[in-house]
């Protein structure tokens, strides 16, 4: 509770809790609009075109128009679909994405829930989205959707293990699963980030290669988690039309869409927390403090959202068995090597 400025501002507990819940929701809504515009504009920059220019100056109202369009569309449920599961799936996916915001520390003064198992919780609700995907794919009663759902199930077991091992390695370095403590242990200059081996004596240069490799492993795994190119296999547009959300339209499709963007931020936030020092300023005490903390956190997370958009418009898509090959035969062994090296360092330091 000491980590949340809202408790200090508002005396009533109930009002404070509601405010704490609403604040990330408002953030997600605004962020999604920014991310959609960013996606459109970065894609058009990459592809040497202008992108949306008509709705508002420089097209900045385009995301609003897109959302309004999706809400206005007819919400179709296929006659042969399993109606309960079909209607439930997009909400499960959205809940999974939004539940992660409960523990994301935006700054030293804003941590919605400061729980000791924060990292574990984040990892657990991150896997929630797959349930929504499999559910929606199965309930649609469409062969493309089913293929998409099966691909997603195959995908999660390939990337969750290296991602989990990477989390373990960082947890062993920090000695905690509490996100706030992980961030606090990286305070100081940017060479104290776990990307560069964390805080420690000069001998940490031997562990830096391992943390760098671990960072890449984790980045690749998180790209797979958000179902975006080069790992947009469950919705592989050119093969299985739109994968698991082929049959969705209107507001339910918007929920999937929204959950994807929310997930992009969640994994970017996770990378930021684990490897880039969360809300710590890169320059020691310079520009640090509660408000600068939120600034640094959102800046770092947005950078990784940008990286995801950038990769999407650059790379082709992998095939599902290639992703599994990469997950099991490349990322898992490398992540274990890194884990042992880092755990050994955490023990001797």
């Amino acid at each position: 509770m000491e980590h949340n400025f809202i408790y200090n501002l508002i005396n009533s507990d109930i009002v404070a809790i509601i405010a704490i819940i609403l604040l990330p929701l408002i953030f997600v809504l605004i962020y999604a609009l920014i991310a959609i515009l960013g996606e459109l504009k970065i894609a058009s920059f990459v592809q040497e075109r202008l992108g949306p220019m008509r709705t508002g100056p420089w097209g900045i109202i385009q995301p609003v128009a897109e959302v309004v369009k999706l809400i206005q569309k007819e919400d179709i449920t296929p006659a042969a679909a399993d109606k309960k599961l079909f209607n439930l799936a997009p909400y499960i996916m959205f809940v999974g994405a939004f539940a992660a915001f409960a523990v994301i520390p935006f700054g030293p003064a804003f941590v919605p829930a400061d729980i000791n198992l924060g990292l574990f919780y984040l990892f657990a609700v991150g896997a929630f989205a797959i349930i929504g995907i499999v559910m929606g794919g199965w309930a649609s009663n469409n062969k493309y959707s089913l293929l998409g759902a099966m691909r997603s199930a195959a995908q999660i077991i390939s990337y969750e293990i290296p991602a989990g091992v990477a989390l373990l390695a960082i947890a062993s370095l920090a000695g905690s699963l509490n996100l706030n403590e992980i961030i606090e242990s990286q305070s100081g200059w940017f060479w104290n980030w776990y990307l560069f081996g964390g805080d420690g004596p000069i001998w940490k240069i031997f562990v830096i290669p391992f943390t760098l490799i671990l960072f890449i492993i984790f980045l690749v795994s998180t790209l797979a988690e958000t179902n975006r190119t080069p790992f947009d296999i469950p919705e592989g547009e050119s093969e299985i039309v739109a994968g698991y959300h082929t049959e969705y339209s209107g507001i339910k499709f918007a929920m999937f869409f929204f959950a994807e963007y929310a997930n992009m931020f969640v994994v970017s936030a996770l990378i930021t927390i684990l490897f880039l020092g969360g809300w710590n300023s890169p320059f020691g005490d310079f520009m640090s403090g509660p408000i600068w903390g939120a600034f640094w956190f959102i800046l770092k997370a947005f950078f990784f959202v940008f990286v995801q958009i950038w990769l999407r418009w650059t790379l082709p898509r992998l095939r599902v068995d290639q992703l599994m090959y990469m997950g099991w035969k490349v990322l898992v062994p490398f992540s274990f090597v890194c884990f042992f090296a880092i755990a050994f360092w955490a023990m001797v330091k």
């Binding site: 990459v46 947009d232 592989g236 050119s238 082709p316 898509r317 992998l318 095939r319 090959y325």
Partner: protein, 383 residues
């Protein structure tokens, strides 16, 4: 990762059911209204049956009712991506039957137009192939460049897709004064973009992983099925009508016949068919440069066009190297103003027939890539 491709899995002891999926006729990646009836074991393709005919427009019957020049617009609509090339074998066949000798300048205009259209066709082929693999950006880069070629065609023929430009004995309009400079500009632009595409797409590691060793077409199978064009050359067989039976003035130009060499995988895989197209664009650029240098500035392009075309009784088959392969027309004349029969040897149709043979045992995602690498146009498949 590349060495293992065909997926063998022992299903004995596992209670599985095969799934039949209709890929198409409305599907993002069937390149038109093609329906593939696919049988899947998990995601592995066990059987492919292409169903065609959704775009059938009775070309052959129409041709019987039209006079010889009136058939040309219908030919445009066969392979609508490379209309200039389509018209060529037809006009060659009739010119030969009538004994018409076309002026020198017309020959050069035809060569330049055909090679520009070959570049435009290969740009679409490579672009959509990349799109099938999930790469969206190269698609737009290549379409941007194709616009230059379309603008040039628009200036000389009035059309951007269906040109109706070649006619028996000549072309329908003379080129404009800055035509040569525009051609050289296009060549420069195409080379610059192709260099970029090579880095961005062709040698991209993911793209190589996706396309190398996929859909291997052995050269004997390719010949048995009658494949031609980049599909046959991708299998390593240097058969190009421009070189093996030079028609028009192709014997005057210096260019290489590109074949697949199996640089990143096996000879005849999807990557090879694609790289043959990329390199043929460069060869076309070379031909255009030479043709522009040799082309006479003066000359009447209309002088050999007959007022009324009466083809003497007889029959003829003439083929030309289309971007997609050998496109030929078998024409039977009964001595009247209308052809008795016009029968095209449709390249896309024949190339498509090899798809079931080469796509078994690969995954669904590979099937789409194999189809993309064959580069069909449904207008020509169905006619």
């Amino acid at each position: 990762m590349s060495e293992r491709r065909k997926i063998e899995f022992d299903y004995s002891g596992v209670d599985t059911d095969r799934m039949r999926v209709n890929v198409g006729p409305q599907h993002p990646s069937t390149h038109g209204v093609l329906r593939l009836e696919v049988e899947l074991e998990g995601e592995i393709v066990t059987e492919v049956v292409p169903h065609i005919g959704y775009l059938h427009r009775c070309f052959e019957k129409h041709a019987e009712a039209m006079t010889y020049p009136q058939v040309i617009p219908y030919i445009d609509r066969m392979d609508y991506i490379s209309s200039m090339n389509n018209e060529w074998p037809y006009v060659i066949a009739i010119e030969e039957m009538c004994g018409i000798k076309v002026p020198e300048k017309v020959e050069y205009i035809r060569v330049i137009c055909a090679e520009l259209n070959r570049i435009a066709n290969h740009q679409i082929a490579v672009a959509t192939f990349g799109l099938d693999a999930g790469a969206f950006t190269p698609f737009l880069y290549l379409f941007r460049d194709r616009e230059w070629i379309l603008n040039l065609f628009e200036r000389i023929s009035g059309g951007r897709l269906l040109y109706n430009y070649f006619c028996v004995g000549g072309v329908r309009g003379d080129v404009y004064p800055t035509f040569k400079e525009d051609c050289l500009d296009i060549v420069r632009q195409v080379r610059a973009t192709n260099k970029e595409i090579m880095d961005l797409l062709i040698y991209n590691h993911i793209f190589v992983e996706r396309t190398a060793n996929i859909g291997i077409l052995p050269v004997d199978v390719a010949i048995n099925y009658g494949c031609s064009g980049p599909v046959l050359r991708g299998s390593g067989f240097p058969y190009d009508l421009r070189r093996s039976e030079p028609y028009s003035i192709y014997d005057r130009f210096d260019f290489d016949v590109q074949v697949g060499k199996g640089e990143v995988g096996t000879v005849g895989d999807c990557w090879d068919r694609n790289i043959v197209r990329m390199r043929e664009m460069e060869e076309s650029c070379k031909i255009i440069e030479q043709a522009v240098a040799q082309m006479p500035d003066t000359g009447d392009v209309f002088e050999a066009i007959p007022k009324k075309i009466r083809v003497p009784k007889g029959e003829i088959y003439r083929a030309a190297e289309n971007p997609k392969g050998e496109l030929g027309f078998y024409i039977v004349s009964d001595g009247g103003q209308k052809p008795f029969r016009v029968r095209p040897r449709a390249t896309s149709f024949i190339n498509l027939s090899v798809l079931p043979e080469i796509s078994k045992g690969y995954m669904l995602a590979d099937l789409i890539l194999i189809l993309g690498s064959i580069d069909i146009v449904l207008g020509e498949v169905d006619r």
